[in-house]
Structures are given as C-alpha cells and as structure tokens.
Symmetry: C3
Subunit: 144 residues, 3 copies
C-alpha cells in the first residue's frame, strides 16, 4: 500500500471500530443477542467484576439471558483507540446505562477497556473489560 | 475520482453527517430554530409519535414553538451511518435529552433513525424519525 | 502536500482533536492531573464562570486540587470542529458530568468552546471555555 492508502486504511479502521461499539449499544437496546455475539471474535470475551463469558457459545448464553427483556439502554462516549498493528487495536470508551432492575430504574456508569481484532474482513471485539463506577437506583444516585 | 479519493470522500461525508447531528443539538440548546431548519433538506421531515412536520415552513413553525424557551439539552451518541449511494445515507444514533416541562426537570431517551441527503453541497436531514424510550420526571425515572 | 494528502491530514487532525477531548475525560476520571495538563499548550487556559487558570503551573495547581479525589466522571458528546488554518482550530462539544460534592451525587451539564493548537507535533488545548447549564443534586435536578 502507498503511504496515503495506509493512512486512509487506519482512519477507516478507527471509524469501523467506533461504529462497532455503537452497534453493540443498538443491539443491546434491541434485545438482539445474536447480533451482539456477532460483534465478537470467535474466542472473544466480555469481563465484568462478576462475569467472564468467552467464545460465542458462552457469550450467547450470557447475552441471551441479559438483553432479552430489553431493560438496558447503553450510551457510549469518549472513545480513544490505539493500534498495535494493522489487525490489532485497543481502546477505552466511557458508558452510561439506563436500565430496569426488578422493574425499578437504575443508572450505571463506567468504561470499557477493549481489545479489537480484524478478522473475517471485519473489526470485532477480542475482549471487552468493563470497569463499573456504580450501579444505583436512578433517584438516589451514587455515593462513591 | 481515484479509488483513494472515493474513500476519502466517504470518510469526509461520514464526518460531516456526524457533525450535522451535533450541530442540531447545539442549535436546540441555543434556541435557534432557523439554524435547525437549515440542517434539513427543503422537503425534509421530522417524525415523532405525535408530530410529523415536513418542509421548511412546517419545520420552522414546529421548532420555533419548540426551542424558543431553550428548555431542551440533547446529547447524541452511538452513531452508525450506512450509505445507499454517494448522495444518500441512513443512520441511527442514540439521544439523551435534559429538558424542562412546565418548569420541572425531565429526562428523555431514545434514538433517531435518520436519512441524509447531499444537496446544495452539504449533507442534510432528509428524514429524522424519533423513537422515544421514555420522557419522565428526572427524579422519578422510567418504568418501562 | 498533494490535495489528497491535505484532505487526509485534515481528517487525521479532527480525529486527534476528538480523542484529545476524550483523553481529557479519562484523565479526569483517573485523577491524573499531570496528564490533563499535558493536553494543554504551554500557555493554554481553562475558563469557567469562577476560575481561569492559564499556563501549565496554574493548570497543574487547579487540576491537582480538582481531580485528586476522583469525584468527577465527564462524558463528552456533540463535537463540531472548525479549522482556522493548518495549526489552529476551534470546537464546541457538550458535556455531562457525574460528580460527588461533599459526598453527595450531583449532575452537571454544559458545553465547551475550545480552541486547539498544533504544537510539538500534537493537537492541544489552547483554550477551554466552559459554559455550564447547571450543577445540581442528582435527585433534585435543575430548575432553569
């Protein structure tokens, strides 16, 4: 590739990765576990303080249980992406989530440390590591 | 155009479309109905569950009534854009809105299904279709 | 530079400037005053309705006092950037901030009018001017 083409490819990759995190949010809102899982690499993982499903089968079970009720509305912001090589990148993005928990409105905030991999012609999540700041009843707010 | 130029033009178009949705938010905050309307194509439309103004005259009446009090602060995120051809695209983006309703603070969330058209040398809204999740008193939160 | 290279450089600059505002948010969350200050030009300034530190020494004092408690979680959106020349740009972006004030959860919203300068091979803040809409206890919300 020419130098210009390399630079364009890098910009296109960042654009696709940002949309990857947006598509994830939309699929959560839509309660569409299969689409969420398709955004992960075959051995991709999602790690929280309590869960760590890895691979499409575990991810499908995890998200199938998690998003079917369409209780979560995530909003992603503040995205910074850095490349390791042409096919691997890492990123950090912030998230606010409106959700219902046992029928009550909650608000959650945190950020993702992601790793992205270019595979099968698409950028996908290799890892999502979720660092949660708080998950609290909407009206009460957080205390730390 | 060369292949590289076509790719650059596509990236520039996505950048302009993302800024289009940001400019919309800023104009709402500023209470500037004329600027909002200028972001729509001549026959552009805005559809909600209750309203559907179409064309600059109806849009100006709608936004003139709606934003003059500077009651709304919209925040757009999670933008995904797909092109139909060089001059037409569609997109989905999420929105959170802080607003005052009869002097009380409300929070609203939802997403837009947009259609964009390149006309008069600029990308503009051909359609904004607003899917609202909830519009509730801030302190109480939502229940579905 | 060729015309194509000029266009690519402009896109890269906008990308870097958007990440600049995201890096700022991440550094605030991390309580990392030195990183925040490094995002400003040597004579850069941050202006609010009450403060106006200018230059790295004043900024370091301001942010050192402000972010050490890791009380603030800012979320930036709606970014529009316009160039004055190859090394100077201005922008407007919206922000929502979750914060603790005397141990109580507050919510704040507003927008930044920024000026950016390309210096030492990086885009940095020349000025951040913060226009605050409100800063209120989370559960109560705002009244204007």
């Amino acid at each position: 590739m020419s130098d210009l083409e390399t630079r364009i490819a890098r910009i296109e990759a960042k654009d696709e990765i940002r949309e990857l995190t947006a598509r994830y949010c939309h699929a959560v809102v839509d309660g569409d576990a299969e689409t969420i899982v398709s955004l992960f690499a075959a051995d991709g993982s999602f790690r929280t303080h309590t869960f760590a499903p890895q691979g499409h089968a575990e991810l499908l079970e995890f998200y199938g249980n998690g998003v079917g009720g369409k209780t979560h509305k995530p909003f992603v912001q503040n995205h910074v992406i850095e490349f390791e090589d042409e096919d691997h990148a890492s990123g950090r993005c912030s998230v606010e989530i409106r959700l219902l928990q046992d029928g009550r409105p909650f608000t959650q905030a945190g950020h993702y440390h992601d790793r992205y991999v270019h595979t099968d012609g698409r950028w996908k999540f290799a890892e999502r590591n979720y660092m949660r700041y708080h998950n609290v009843p909407w009206g009460e707010g957080w205390s730390k």
